[in-house]
């Protein structure tokens, strides 16, 4: 089987992390974001993966070569010379996606869920039409485009952009499966799959929806990255609790704590709930962590307090420092002892020696 992942551009919404690391390689729950998708695709029997990108950093090429071997898949970069929107990349990768009659998956690189590729494929083949959109239920559909089915059917009737009145609560989850016939609908030019291709397919009665059970999140920006981390950890706790830190080990508080085996944790810490600690991280004594992500090689000195924060690679948090309110630190940032950071977006290599009391960008 084949799949296309829409990676796109520079991931500017996830800055400052993506200033030094291509977005697909930023670790979500200690694993590069794109690896969550590649693993799930490989497990569903996908052998050909196309990455639709606007640019191709060398570091990404070499890491993905490694994954090709590990997961026994062929990964091809499809590089757009001009942005082609969400549908154009399918036309650009026509040679691979249309090489046989089997259906192919398409997914946005920012989404995290318990990817149901096998069930999706079975559902798609059972209805026999051209495409299936995975939908997820949300509490506030007015912020999104809502998908409305024909009554008593999985077939999609229409799309309602940011509805004022309640018409349903199912939204596009950014995961699809299509027959190669869809390629005849898409020209090689900037095209929106949501706004142009899908309405046309729905009008032709060729588009169905598949409802995703369980968690889903677009983790393309820091606030949602943290929310998505919580949802993901809760799911790990349900399906594979052994992967998490033992809730009875003295420091774990409230559960859902993921710790890389190479990380070191000091005495008298209280960690959790919803914390991810990356490889080589060093945590001092008496540290309090909750709802935060510490990326590889970072260190947190004694008595620091961190909540709702992403600490970038190799950054250092001083003693009695306090970080909160969706603070995001790039790599090699230093926060000095006793400093308070309230919603700081801090670019790489900066040293913070005075309080940041209101959310702001430190360039």
């Amino acid at each position: 089987m084949k799949a296309l992942i829409l990676v796109g551009g520079f991931g500017t919404r996830l800055r400052p992390l993506t200033l030094t690391m291509p977005k697909p390689l930023v670790e979500f729950a200690n694993k590069p974001m794109i690896l969550h998708q590649i693993e799930a695709l490989a497990e569903a029997g996908v052998t050909d993966i196309v990455l639709a990108v606007n640019y191709r950093p060398e570091v990404m090429v070499s890491i993905l070569q490694k994954y090709e071997e590990i997961y026994n898949v062929k990964i091809t970069f499809s590089v757009e010379t001009e942005p082609l929107g969400t549908a154009g990349p399918l036309a650009l990768a026509r040679d691979i996606l249309g090489k046989d009659e089997s259906p192919f998956f398409v997914l946005n690189s920012d989404v995290i869920c318990d990817f149901p590729f096998q069930e999706l494929k079975a559902f798609h083949e059972a209805h026999g039409n051209e495409g299936t959109i995975v939908v997820t239920k949300v509490e506030e559909p007015s912020k999104y485009g809502v998908i409305v089915n024909k009554s008593e059917s999985s077939m999609i009737d229409r799309f309602v952009e940011k509805p004022v009145e309640f018409v349903g609560n199912k939204i596009n989850a950014g995961i699809y499966i299509f027959n190669p016939a869809i390629l005849d609908r898409i020209e090689l030019k900037p095209t929106s799959i949501e706004q142009e291709t899908f309405p046309a397919m729905a009008a032709d009665h060729q588009l169905h929806s598949f409802t995703l059970e369980g968690f889903w999140m677009d983790v393309g920006q820091p606030k949602d990255f943290l929310t998505g981390t919580c949802l993901y950890l809760a799911n790990v706790n349900k399906c594979n609790p052994g992967a998490l830190a033992n809730p009875n080990s003295g420091y774990v508080h409230g559960g859902n704590v993921l710790v890389d085996p190479t990380a070191k944790i000091g005495k008298d810490c209280r960690i959790g709930p919803n914390v991810v600690i990356g490889p080589g991280v060093v945590i001092g004594d008496g540290v309090r962590l909750q709802r935060c992500v510490l990326l590889e090689g970072s260190s947190v000195k004694d008595f620091a307090w961190i909540k709702n924060t992403i600490v970038g690679w190799h950054s250092t948090i001083g003693r009695w420092a306090r970080l909160e309110c969706t603070s995001v630190l790039g790599d090699y940032v230093t926060v000095k002892d006793e400093v308070y950071v309230n919603g700081g977006s801090i670019l790489p290599h900066k040293s913070i020696s005075a309080n940041i009391t209101e959310p702001q960008i430190i360039m």
Binding site: G9, F10, T12, R15, P16, L19, Y332, S345, L347, P348, H349, K350, I356, T357, E358, Q360, I361, M363
Partner: protein, 414 residues
């Protein structure tokens, strides 16, 4: 008698105040008045008699300077220019000492040391003449700055008749003197004995590694200004040569705009043929304007003063550019207006849009925000930013690869 020269270029973690431009180019290679910042240093060094070798010392990866060095070798066939990479931060004087074998090879009698992040006319020949007229170990280039900004720099008190430095304080809290160090020095090579003495004073003894080379423990950095110049002043071996020409530090990205203007004004005096001229059927040029030969300027555009236009730039009909730097491959659509701004590589500026900054009042100020609010300053667009037609981008700093679809003001756009 064969002096050498060293340019201290810093490293990738140092140029953070030069963001967002340093996200795409190392600060020493950022172009002002049509050429990289350190090319101005090299041009001045090339005029020093018998100077054959220039060493760049810094923390960047080797590849960063390779194409620059190739270009420089073509432009200055008589100069040998190399890059030496520091792997460990030893302080500015510690770094010099670390590379002393390279520096002293060929037995130079004197060595110039220039910080990369300063801009001035580099009166090195006059400095050398002054140096040879006294018995000091070091001559420091000095300049006068407004009294209220003096304490941001290394301050000097000198004897007016002999230029002997009596007192040197780096960034004093109170006012000492408005005569400050320009970050440009000329040393006798005996200075390496002084550095060694300072090192010994600082740590009591010098440790050696298995190869017999001296190593410094972390926290034992030796700084050029505080640890070397201060004791030299106390020993009456330090002299100042005061320049009356312009001098600026290049710290923030915005400071490149006034520096660009000053270098262009200098070119207007010394090499006016390198600047754009008004020609029949050509664009309107006001004051000092540099236009790269590959740029295309519509005849109905108006440029200047203090404008540098980079390679392959396209400036459309009716566009206006003043007090700005426009970098390579930028596309400025018709009737757009760019004032007090730096436009990053490959950016697109829409029709009737206005990209405007505020010239910074303070001499050599470096802050970007004050109590969380962005200070009025030069507007800077990073690489590949697009500005939509008819919008206004005022007093903003925009990181690379952003599409600005509506107007913004007083913002850092990440």
């Amino acid at each position: 008698m064969n002096p050498k020269a060293i340019i201290l270029v810093g490293g990738p973690s140092r140029g953070t105040r030069f963001r967002p431009l340093s996200l795409n180019v190392p600060k020493p290679l950022f172009p002002v008045a049509g050429k990289p910042i350190i090319s101005h240093h090299i041009a001045a060094l090339s005029k020093v008699e018998d100077l054959k070798e220039i060493l760049l010392i810094g923390f960047f990866e080797d590849s960063v300077f390779s194409s620059f060095l190739q270009d420089a070798a073509r432009e200055y066939p008589n100069l040998h220019i190399r890059y030496l990479r520091e792997y460990q931060s030893l302080g500015t004087a510690g770094g010099l000492y670390h590379f002393r074998d390279e520096i002293l090879r060929g037995n130079p009698d004197q060595v110039f040391v220039l910080h990369a992040d300063v801009a001035c006319t580099f009166p090195l020949v006059a400095m050398k003449k002054a140096h040879e007229g006294h018995r000091g170990l070091c001559t420091i280039l000095g300049t006068r700055v407004p009294r209220d900004s003096a304490n941001n720099f290394g301050c000097l008190v000198a004897k007016p008749d002999t230029n002997e430095v009596l007192h040197y304080v780096e960034k004093p809290e109170s006012f000492i003197s408005n005569l400050i160090s320009c970050g440009v020095y000329l040393f006798d090579c005996a200075i390496f004995d002084e550095i060694r003495k300072s090192l010994e004073n600082k740590k009591g003894n010098v440790e050696t590694d298995i190869y017999g080379r001296e190593v410094f423990q972390d926290g034992n950095k030796l700084r050029l200004e505080q640890d070397l110049l201060r004791p030299l002043a106390q020993a009456r071996k330090l002299f100042v040569h005061e320049t009356k020409d312009f001098w600026r530090q290049i710290k923030t990205a915005g400071s490149a705009v006034p520096v660009n203007g000053l270098y262009l004004e200098q070119l207007l005096q010394t090499n006016p043929e390198k600047l754009a001229k008004n020609t029949p059927g050509g664009p309107e040029i006001v004051g000092a304007v540099y236009i790269h030969p590959t740029a295309q300027i519509d005849p109905q555009a108006k440029l200047g003063p203090n404008v540098s236009i980079g390679p392959n730039v396209f400036i459309g009909k009716g566009a206006r550019v003043r007090d700005s730097i426009v970098l390579d491959n930028v596309d400025v659509k018709q009737n757009a207006c760019i004032l007090h701004a730096i436009i990053g590589w490959n950016s697109k500026i829409g029709c009737w849009s206005r990209v405007e900054g505020t010239p910074s009042a303070a001499h050599n100020s470096t802050a970007v925000t004050k109590s969380g609010l962005k200070i009025q300053s030069i507007t800077i667009l990073g690489k590949e930013v697009s500005v939509k037609d008819e919008t206004i981008i005022r007093n903003c700093i925009v990181l690379p690869h952003k599409d600005l679809k509506s107007s913004c003001e007083n913002e850092i756009v990440m």
